[in-house]
Amino acid sequence: MCGDCLAHAGQPAAIGAETTGEPVTVDAVAASENGSGFLLEDADPRARLILALVFAFVLAAVQSVEAAVLGLAFSILITMASGKPLLALLKRLAVVNTFIIFMWVMLPFSFSTPGEIIAKIGPLEVTREGVILASLLTLKANAILLVVISLLTVGPLHLMAEASRALGMPDKLVNLFLLTTRYFQVIFDEYQRLRLAMKARGFKSSLSRHSMKSLGSLLGILLVRSFDRADRIHKAMLARGYSGDLHVRTEFEFKKIDAIFALSMIVVTIVVLIAEWNRTL
């Protein structure tokens, strides 16, 4: 559902920062939201990645509201420990929750298994079960989002990529990811320049023939320039002896504090699992 993409509209401005002239990097985007003095940033990225994934999938599997509430509570605690400004994050979650809002619009009215009708809006019947299911989805989605934000987006993004490599992600995929984040700022700058030129000429995005043609050309020229740039960079890198290896190996260290972090995450995950089993058994 593209509803959740609508919020995109605000994003390029955040990245673009046309007026500030500051370098645009993916890390800058992530860092701009970090509060000060987080505790979790220093935790071993491998531990953060794997434990966040396990917890996220456990939350995804949860089918009871009780376990989901518990999961969300833990997620909020983890978020507080990460030092991310909670209030700003909650505002952001509200924007991102458009898919969930869509499910709220659909589910309470379209529950097909016989449900207890708790309200009527015109011809539409609101079922208790539909409301419960929609609530469950909302709790789960936000719990997972908070865990991902607070464990995976603290600290530089490339550390997460290196952590995934250490955990067995294929070299090529990790390098593709790293190089993409590297070149994204270049291409996005190019895109912003093109957009600025269009804006200066009074361009407004609409469904008109002219607008579509302009967008087609914008995308076309962006691709042409990217292909040309790709070619130049490739030749330049080959000339410097590039063979496909990035030679950026990060050594990770699993410290005592990481063990404490890992242990608490495991306990939290197990508690949610127990809550789920108690409810479903």
């Binding site: 559902m1 593209c2 993409c5 919020a7 995109h8 509209a9 994003q11 993916v26 985007v29 994934l53 996220a56 999938f57 995804a60 599997a61 952001r92 991102v96 898919f99 869509f102 499910m103 659909m106 589910l107 009215f109 379209s110 529950f111 539909g130 299911l133 989605a141 719990a143 997972i144 991902v148 934000i149 993004l157 090529k172 390098n175 593709l176 190089l179 993409t180 984040t181 590297r182 070149y183 994204f184 291409i187 996005f188 895109y191 995005s205 469904l207 967008l215 087609g216 995308l219 076309g220 020229i221 962006l222 691709l223 042409v224 990217s226 292909f227 960079i233 490739h234 080959l238 496909g244």
Partner: protein, 210 residues
């Protein structure tokens, strides 16, 4: 277009993950490691394209151009789209980490399929068939993506997600038309300005290491 966290069941998430992993492996096999910087620049370009919005009345949609990615890149669409969706999930929380597999397949699968089906006609010299094929790749890629989103929802909860699944598909009909037009325009633009991009599919596949 991205399904958010928390909506799908574990079997659906797992199935999406496994199929996407196979697709990504196919795509990575097509990239020689010395060509990675080129692949990365194109990934960045396609990711940037997703920032382009088309206003429809009071609302707006962003481009996905998965049809175009499929036409130009073939199997490489899988790693390209996976990296794009990962960045979206981590930076903007669109989609999500647990649904990466499903979302990657939903977007990249149709891209690869219609890329292969329409590529030959798109490359032909005849203007009308070539334009129609380009528009078709754009249109059907989004259509199948929307259908797969619906299928993923339906498979997660057949009794209760049916209405949501149908609504997703219907809501995407305007997007299909827009993507068809944009894909057609970009292909015609590339044919005029730099046809070798279309014909070599990508420098990534053809440039040899010296």
């Amino acid at each position: 277009m991205h399904i958010s966290e928390g909506v799908l069941t574990i079997p659906v998430l797992a199935a999406g993950g496994v199929i996407s992993a196979l697709g990504v492996a196919m795509g990575l096999a097509k990239i020689k490691s010395h060509n990675l910087p080129q692949a990365a620049i194109l990934t960045a370009a396609f990711f940037t394209a997703s920032f382009i919005h088309v206003n429809i009345g009071p609302s707006s949609v962003h481009l996905m151009i998965n049809g175009l990615i499929g036409l130009l890149m073939g199997w490489m669409a899988f790693p390209i789209i996976l990296v794009g969706l990962t960045l979206q999930a981590l930076l903007f929380q669109f989609g999500g980490i647990t649904v990466l597999g499903v979302n990657t397949f939903n977007v990249a699968g149709p891209a690869v399929l219609f890329g292969f089906l329409f590529r030959k006609t798109v490359l032909s010299d005849k203007l009308v068939p070539s334009s129609l094929a380009a528009a078709g790749a754009g249109f059907f890629s989004i259509a199948l993506t929307a259908l797969l989103v619906g299928v993923a929802l339906y498979a997660s909860n057949p009794a209760n997600y049916g209405a949501a699944a149908k609504t997703v598909f219907v809501a995407h009909i305007p997007v299909m038309v827009i993507e068809a037009i944009i894909t057609l325009l970009v292909v015609r633009f590339l044919k005029k300005v730099k046809p070798e991009i279309l014909f070599t599919a990508t420098a990534v596949r053809t440039t040899e290491a010296v």
